[in-house]
Amino acid sequence: MTYKVLIVDDSKLARMVAVGALSRVRPDWTPVEVGSAAQALEALEDKSIDVALVDFNMPETNGLALTAEIRNLRPSMPVALVSANIQDEIIARARAINAVFLPKPMTDEALSGFLSGATLQLRRQQQ
């Protein structure tokens, strides 16, 4: 089973890192890159997105606010909030809206761990 992963980050480089990591840990999954929260919401209108990776630190709408909106639209979608700012408050807020916290720079192991959890969740939903 392959899935579509929405990668939201205003930095092209950060998206490249995420896409690179995804291509290594889940070569058959499909990345969808967007550079802002607005584009992310647009992309989500296409129902085929299964998983989202959201950068915390973005201009205009920040990652937490976007994740909250995604929760509204798709309550059970696996979402990861990505940030170098590893503080209890931010991790706690990510947890509060049922998102996983992934530290930057993103490592293959951390991403793989999140995607394994996401796969289980998506399978359960399909059954």
Binding site: S11, K12, A84, N85, Q87, D88, K104
Partner: protein
Amino acid sequence: MTEAAIKLDKLEIDALSELVNIGVGRAAASLRHMVGEEVLLSVPSAEIMQREQAWGLIEKDSGGGLVAIHQHFEGSFSGCALLVFPEMKSLELVRAVVRTDLPLEDIIDLEQEALAETGNIVLNACLATIANILKQNLKMSLPQVRRGNGAALLGDACGDVPGDLLLFLYISFTVNSQNIHGYIVMLMDLPSLATLKQLIGEYIAGLTCQRA
């Protein structure tokens, strides 16, 4: 070597600002330990510009007096990194970082040391992150605090770094519901900028290769 030769393209600038963003994110995490509450740091944009242009921008924005924490770094690329704030904001920054119930006189006394240490954390995190991700080794000096207008800081802190171009980043600092804007400035000579460009290029190329 000409200045055009080291002009960074859009992706390279994006890469650099992402690296600094990761760096300040880490700095925020260390500051959080110090302050005891959430600290948000972000670098919304990065540019390469002429020295005069940068100081002009900073002075226009801050209305005069500036305070800068600066550190030199040495390695495959060398130069001087500065964290710059409008002088009027420095007391607020110190108040945000140290205990808030201190009287004004105490805060003024603590100001120099608290600024040096806070700037030290931010600059170390940025430089170390860049060095680490680009797999380089940098040696960094201890921080120093300077005050003055843009031109004076330039002459004082980084007088020994030749070259006319610098990397200019806005930084936004939110602590204790105080929002303070400042700048990170990295001054390098042309060979260092060229090396940095090359290292970033290699790093980006590495990402692309792995994907293929």
